[in-house]
């Protein structure tokens, strides 16, 4: 049986994402593009297949996506134009105690392996999953 939650706003500390880069010997203060910050997420769970899917929405309108298979049985969908991560899908175990660890692992895999995804966006998604892990667990 598949269940799906409502869209939930993403709220995490983005202040720490300000950084300095050096161009032409000048230190420039940069921050992530607002388009790369996921605005909301929802969780769908398949209790039969034991899979969990986290979808993300952005301020820009939706676009066509393609699927990418990552290690540790994690699957992501990437926007064909923007290369942003629109969903993260991974297998889970029946044992609920193992769930927090599995969510953390999926977030790590996304940050590490999502090829073609924008670096700043995959970091945002990784952080969003880590911040909202309790809500994701609750949905399962």
């Amino acid at each position: 049986m598949t269940t799906i939650t409502d869209w939930m706003p993403i709220d995490f500390d983005i202040a720490s994402l300000k950084r300095k880069i050096r161009i032409h010997g000048r230190d420039i203060e940069v921050a992530v593009s607002p388009y790369d910050i996921p605005a909301a997420f929802r969780v769908s769970t398949d209790q039969t297949l034991l899979r969990l899917r986290i979808e993300f929405s952005y301020i820009s309108k939706e676009e066509k996506t393609s699927v990418q298979y990552l290690p540790e049985d994690v699957t992501v969908t990437l926007g064909n134009i923007s290369n942003r991560l629109y969903s993260v899908d991974f297998s889970v175990q029946q044992d609920l105690k193992a769930l927090p660890g599995r969510i953390a692992q999926a977030a790590q895999v996304v940050g590490q392996y999502a090829r073609g995804s924008k670096l700043s966006n995959s970091q945002m998604v990784q952080r969003a999953i880590a911040t909202h892990a309790p809500e994701v667990e609750l949905a399962f």
């Binding site: 983005i14 921050a31 607002p34 910050i37 301020i59 309108k61």
Partner: protein, 269 residues
């Protein structure tokens, strides 16, 4: 030059020019219905002239109608730029209404400018003409003049980008500049150098602006703008107040989301 200003007059010329050229091409084709040999006098002469030149006049007027229609679509309508300016004004209010202001600070001391990236900029300037960000809309009716600067923003070579607008577009990241030194016509070379370095522009550019008496900006923020998932341009918020304009949390606020969504819909054509 801000699109709204020159489109107010040009839009009508482009529209009626296209209609006139299309109508002339249609009329010339219609007159081919009659043969000049069947008439005498002035009618015969006019029809004969049309028959002789129709191979060039019809394609010419059709092409003119097509070109004018292309430019009309390319530059958008005055109404759509009015809406864009209104959206920028709302965003400006949302940013600055909660900020502490300097004494005697006027509205035009805090501005928001929308820059568009263009592949080719035809201008009276030295090469390169390709890959610039040009201003297309700005808040405040008193600050919309021809002197709003344009910046180089090569797509493939972000290191060559200039100014906050150019670097924001080229890096597709938010760029924050604050605490720029105050400049006057008497400012020393050291201060000008520091301003240029912190403001991400060249010293020549700063000196040129000083000569024209307009280099009073003390802080800026550049935010990338996307349309259909692709980088389109940038919004630059500038202020005469040296304190940072915007906190990183405000980047992701509701006002920006509303602005980004509305601009995307407005600009996608």
């Amino acid at each position: 030059m801000i699109r709204l200003n020159w489109l107010k007059n040009t839009e009508a010329y482009l529209r009626w020019g296209a209609v006139a050229a299309g109508s002339i091409a249609g009329a010339l084709a219609f007159f081919l219905k009659w043969k000049s040999a069947d008439f005498t006098g002035i009618r015969q002469e006019l029809l004969a002239a049309n028959e002789a030149s129709v191979w060039v006049t019809i394609p010419l007027f059709t092409a003119v109608a097509g070109i004018l229609t292309f430019f009309k679509t390319h530059f958008g309508t005055a109404n759509s730029w009015k809406v864009a300016t209104h959206l920028l004004e709302e965003y400006r209010k949302a940013i600055f209404q909660s900020k502490p202001t300097l004494d005697n600070e006027a509205d035009h001391h805090n501005r928001v400018t929308l820059y568009k990236h263009v592949s080719l900029r035809i201008a009276f300037c030295r090469w390169p003409w390709s890959n610039w960000v040009v201003p297309v809309a700005r808040t405040g009716h008193t600050t919309q003049n021809r002197r709003i600067p344009r910046f180089l923003a090569p797509k493939g070579e972000p290191d060559l980008a200039q100014g906050v607008a150019g670097l924001t577009f080229a890096n597709n990241s938010t760029i924050i500049v604050s605490k720029l030194p105050a400049l006057t016509a008497e400012s020393s070379d050291t201060v000008i150098k520091r301003y240029a370095r912190k403001g991400l522009v060249s010293e020549t550019w700063v000196r040129d602006r000083l000569k024209r008496g307009s280099c009073s900006i003390r802080s800026l923020v550049g935010i990338p703008i996307e349309v259909d998932g692709k980088p389109w341009g940038a919004i630059v918020v500038d202020s005469r107040n040296p304190k940072p304009i915007i906190g990183i949390k405000e980047l992701d606020n509701e006002e920006f989301k509303r602005l980004a969504r509305s601009l995307a819909k407005l600009l996608e054509n």
